[in-house]
Symmetry: D2
Subunit: 362 residues, 4 copies
Amino acid sequence: MKGRFDVGVLGATGIVGQEIITALVGHPWFQVTWIGASERSVGKRYAAATPWRLAASRPEDVSEMTVEPCVPGAAPMLLFSGLDSSIAGEVERAFAVAGHTVVSNARNHRMDADVPLVIPEINADHLQLLEEQRCVRQWKGKIVTNPNCSTIVMALALAPLRQFGLTHVMISTLQAVSGAGYPGVSSLDIIGNILPYIDGEEAKIENEAQKILGSLVDRRVVPHEVVVSAQATRVPVINGHTALISVKFESSPTSTDIIQAFRDFSGRPQSESLPSAPRQPVCYLDEPDRPQPKLDVDRESGMVVTVGRLRECSVLDYKFIALGHNTIRGAAGAAVLNAELMKVDGFLGEVEIQETGLGAAD
Amino acid sequence: MKGRFDVGVLGATGIVGQEIITALVGHPWFQVTWIGASERSVGKRYAAATPWRLAASRPEDVSEMTVEPCVPGAAPMLLFSGLDSSIAGEVERAFAVAGHTVVSNARNHRMDADVPLVIPEINADHLQLLEEQRCVRQWKGKIVTNPNCSTIVMALALAPLRQFGLTHVMISTLQAVSGAGYPGVSSLDIIGNILPYIDGEEAKIENEAQKILGSLVDRRVVPHEVVVSAQATRVPVINGHTALISVKFESSPTSTDIIQAFRDFSGRPQSESLPSAPRQPVCYLDEPDRPQPKLDVDRESGMVVTVGRLRECSVLDYKFIALGHNTIRGAAGAAVLNAELMKVDGFLGEVEIQETGLGAAD
Amino acid sequence: MKGRFDVGVLGATGIVGQEIITALVGHPWFQVTWIGASERSVGKRYAAATPWRLAASRPEDVSEMTVEPCVPGAAPMLLFSGLDSSIAGEVERAFAVAGHTVVSNARNHRMDADVPLVIPEINADHLQLLEEQRCVRQWKGKIVTNPNCSTIVMALALAPLRQFGLTHVMISTLQAVSGAGYPGVSSLDIIGNILPYIDGEEAKIENEAQKILGSLVDRRVVPHEVVVSAQATRVPVINGHTALISVKFESSPTSTDIIQAFRDFSGRPQSESLPSAPRQPVCYLDEPDRPQPKLDVDRESGMVVTVGRLRECSVLDYKFIALGHNTIRGAAGAAVLNAELMKVDGFLGEVEIQETGLGAAD
Amino acid sequence: MKGRFDVGVLGATGIVGQEIITALVGHPWFQVTWIGASERSVGKRYAAATPWRLAASRPEDVSEMTVEPCVPGAAPMLLFSGLDSSIAGEVERAFAVAGHTVVSNARNHRMDADVPLVIPEINADHLQLLEEQRCVRQWKGKIVTNPNCSTIVMALALAPLRQFGLTHVMISTLQAVSGAGYPGVSSLDIIGNILPYIDGEEAKIENEAQKILGSLVDRRVVPHEVVVSAQATRVPVINGHTALISVKFESSPTSTDIIQAFRDFSGRPQSESLPSAPRQPVCYLDEPDRPQPKLDVDRESGMVVTVGRLRECSVLDYKFIALGHNTIRGAAGAAVLNAELMKVDGFLGEVEIQETGLGAAD
């Protein structure tokens, strides 16, 4: 490793784009050198085009960049996509056709059979789908996706439990408003209120989990057989999706077994010491009143899923509560961690020639 | 019926007491003429002793009353109890021993085998336990209770479904802060946050439901065999407990059957036209984003449980969302409705001699 | 009075439109028979065109009406306008030209010299500007406006104090999110936060007050000489603008004088017993921790400004706190009260021929 | 500097105590080695005695300490006091009599003529009052205080403007709930609401500012002649007091002069590079919608007062908005910064013999 990769951000002015840019500040491998957004913003300085919504300051170097149109060409080979799903499908494909590597947070290609849907601690091997993608699509580039924010929180809490023969999952989510983007949820709808409906969310949670937890066989994913039933709500919380989960197993683990499984859980990001990897991806707390968004959402820079309150369930086997930062672990940080995994696994090989020679700065 | 019954309120200065007093303003049968509270308040004017927390104005007549100690004696024969559970057990028993009828919202005696735990639309016949209570306890008076606020919301949503052979229930609650009394939940703990733990709540939901839905056989309640598993959380909502419910049946009703069952549900309060009875105790809404606390909690003066989003559940059979006003349908209004039922069923007979002769004012 | 006036609502699908429609439910004089909105909604059933945002149910009769385009023609002679200011200026003028009476909540014409800006308790006589308007504009119809929501709250609190020679006012507002319409303020911007800026609001508060409190001389308004300085913020409250006010007088009233002035304040709506008039437009509370949005905003159906905490100010003379319901007293209710005043003062004369003959229904 | 000072925390289990302990984690000079609290906690492990309320983790070393009674004796010479004002007066005096240096956040001794009320950027020289304190009190130790949280935010925003001849200040505060301690404000009182009253707060703001901004003459403080009028409210914000301020000057600065004064403001903490000093104590932002608690409260670890929206005031001269972190800059961080100043000015000289010899760890 001698330098940084130039990277671009598609949908850079939106809130996911802002979070990706923030997640990449001071990144040892990736440096944002190109930003793309919709017609309305093209040609403007980033600072002028973007109503910055995050508490973290807008990075000064990116602020001075000019917003480019979201078309291949001068863009770097590696692109993070924070595009809205209304356009992400076509735009990302165009970049992949043109030879770019797109690491996407959008939902459009997640369930495509030849597109990896990756959480590096869980299914790093699914990146091998890219070989299938190359054959099928004949693209010069490629697309890798991360799951929906709620799915990521749930999947990280469930992955340590696969060893017990996970068969059924009931999940109720209490989701933060930042998950709806900006402006997203109207304050009139949510102050002192609960919204019992998030369009399309329950289906995403139910379907994506099976793919992520599934096994790679002959260059395709055999979905995990776990049956998931989800109820999704929106709550007046800024950041942090809380999930109330009940699970049923084939085997009969004790609660000690399960807590140990949470605490022992680890994966490629930890073994490879990826820059954005948390030391401990799942943190189990013993206190009876945890996890809480206010107290736990920022654990290890927001990359940890915090779990608590494991107890027996009289309908299924066990129940517990999980919490994760929806815009970091569940979106921007997820995409960055995917790109980091791709790098150490050699999937960014073709872009390595773009090294910026800034290595000394690391 | 020629007049009003004088009634007293135990724990009148607390928030449940305030709600009971508010629920009785202009009541055609019951008139608050006596208020009891703890030592700290005894001897003060009610207005001076009570930091009034409700938007509804403090009734002027009650404001001028003097707070009495919570001991039998000059108190009316019929008493509503909004006492804290730390003292409700003993105080209520003392009143029952002394011949008073105590209609209680406290949890202390709810699960006693000879104490009716009543939701009038569901198990009005359980009042017959009072005969058992009289034999067993040798009290001159009696105690009747209403369930925990979350249990009431759930039980009213489940009662219409008993006909389908209800076997399993998973419930996640998102509970309003008013359920914790005053001062209750600290603002530091709940603004922009979720508390994943409410002490004792899950056990109450799981156990009380079986008694309420159970059958009266030989002057005792045979608990309903339904298995309930609950996860309870506190959310930054003032009034209105939301419940995400999944159910499993012995039979195979269609969703049309179930919605019809919700809409057709009715009980003694409706057939007797009790003063506090809602016309339709369970209201099913077709809109996909309902029920919501902000929009639905006050339906029919807060006495309705609003249900929505019925859909199939891949783990159990069906799932849906229910909402009820925790301090009205779930507490003060529940107690008043119980007393109204007791009146029409003749269980207040012995207090009828206290008629105030104010009938003309009705 | 033998019947009801047919009335229309311009901008009926917006939140102000919804509030006007709600304010007119069961109104003894006015009946909504026509609803107008933008192209997007024209031709649809009102229920289908309108994402209803209010806790009050959508009136069934209006729900079935078909949305009309906002052009004169088949519309009733009397129209309430809840139009957005981006189009209200032109649309309202077109209706006035065509002979309609427009009672508007929009800001566009408020400061026109010949347009009455009316709060009936304060400056009912300003309706005489309509004579000037008729001469100047040569319209067959007319436009009457009510002030900005914050201005109404402040003006009603200041009006009783004019007798003391009001010279200077400092006001800080803590404004509810419903004042920004729907979707209005993003939840991401306001949960657990304060927004220190509301575009154009401070100028409206400072300028409109002088016109409202001014005197009518020779068919024009001589602005009141009071100097107002405003700081406006948005707070996470659904309904109710709170105003922290300091005032300076020419004379030296005692605090007793001032409180008496608040309590004695009354105007034409009270003397005429207008249907939407509060009994007491300004209610002074003695409790040190009032007014509060949660406890006081709905006083007399939201038509009262509640005032409290009068105390001496070391920089000006006195300071106090005022609260009013921004969408009722500050918008929809304000417009309806203006129309009621216009009716009793004979300014709706030309529409009286449209009586619906439904008088018996009253 | 060769080592660390052992320090104790009085009131260590309360929320201010927790914040002081957090502020001292990793401090280069001070190390918490002793914790004192009320009878209820004495003898318990700190972790067991303390319901930890902060998002920052409870420091492990302090967690294992045993809570001591708040009496002099084995306590370190330097003590930070987060005691409640109900007991702080006597307890702090007892420690000062016994020879300890007490750096207090409590209000009890703030306005004592011989007790420094210090904000190091503003009135570092007031520490010289300690000489007077020594003479008057005949204590072996001493007490230094920091102002009320709202006063600190205001005073830091006003201090740069003294050069223009500050004569009058109107201030409206929108104060966070963390300012009321824990449990502090009930969630029932503040979700979706504004509390227009904070007991004693307005007087503190009005009086303390004059002492802080005053001049030291002959070992006593001549209060600044500025007249302050305050209105204080509580808002549903966790951290961050917002202040709407209007000021009147003797001279006639331009807005450019004022903004420059904010930006140029600096003091002893900056020139001495004290460990907790912000680089720029007052940060003026040009964006029209700033400062906001959510976006600005944590600037430079919460030690900055952020100012914005300077504009002319039609009643006084100028108005603007200031924001500061009430529990850091306004409490715990303020106390730590005071102790740091005392150290470099030689006022901790007598405790220096307690160096822990841990210098290598720095």
